[in-house]
Symmetry: C2
Subunit: 215 residues, 2 copies
Amino acid sequence: MSGTTGELFIVASPSGGGKTTIIRRVMAAMAELGWPSFFSISHTTRAPREGERHGVDYYFVDRPAFREMIETGEFLEWAEYVGNFYGTSRAAVEAQRAAGHDVFLDIEVQGARQVRERVPDAVGVFILPPSLEVLRERLVTRGKDAPATIERRIRIATMEMAEYHRFDYVIINDRLDEAVQALGAIVHAARLRTRRREPLAQRILESFQSALVEA
Amino acid sequence: MSGTTGELFIVASPSGGGKTTIIRRVMAAMAELGWPSFFSISHTTRAPREGERHGVDYYFVDRPAFREMIETGEFLEWAEYVGNFYGTSRAAVEAQRAAGHDVFLDIEVQGARQVRERVPDAVGVFILPPSLEVLRERLVTRGKDAPATIERRIRIATMEMAEYHRFDYVIINDRLDEAVQALGAIVHAARLRTRRREPLAQRILESFQSALVEA
């Protein structure tokens, strides 16, 4: 409808930061407003967790296939994390943006840096846990990791958090509703940027100008 | 609390564009969230309209006083519009921003350009009427101008609207509620910028780092 390119939102946080939940809720609110958006699905070499489906949660591929995608330049970013590979295919992201849809990338911090370098107009959002106690509690409650893995995740999280200043926006995920509203505001504002509004603004301006000429 | 400078929002639109109503409603919503904001009050040489008060709606000054303020560099912007002078005093805006308050400038388009030059980090928002018919109807309904003045305002509006592309954001004021939400999103997003969040983000990061050192 607008004729303009959709935005790419890079949403990064340490593991357990809650970014997936926040993105999904913002996308649901956008759908109600008739704003099309797309959640970028990553490729990964890690084993599917209980209930995860290929092509919905991830594209699950083996290591040789992943390496071949790296070599052919198919990834917008890729990273190794806790012994597994994760990557974002460039083609799907670009097709969605070209169709005017906003795209959300839900990625780890090291991958986010690569995307920022390759897509300079992307909007970077860093989600911070409010405190170490809260992050540890979330990782424990999630029940997916052994205690030693949780402590390792916390050490990695601390290193990753130092990267927040490279992002455009920072959201503290203290209360989920507020974090959802925050990301929603960033998305809404991005849709009001002059570049994005230009086709409509130009149409309105031209209708004024034509009326003046006729008068 | 934050220790960071507040934002300056330059909200411009053609006369009758509805910007004052939109700003006031956004400020009321911000007040409920505990976000301090300040509506910049202009100086003007025009006569007060029915119900307007000095120091609330405008600072009403005579022409010699206005000229002296120009000469002493007290204005962030000033402009002549339909035979009257309007200007924004720099001191009040700077004091509010320094206190961490977001400041709203409700100004004409020519003034907005001067402020953008003098305050490069200001956020520029242009409010467009959805159509000429709607703008004319609003000016007529407002009942403040004679028909000839309304037609003159529409001609000026058309010239001013061509400036929209110099602003960061464009809001089409079709439905008031949506325009209020739009400006609200721009303000909310601005408050989430990394620069603004840095003191809090840094505190959280340091608490993680201290815990790691102790462990």
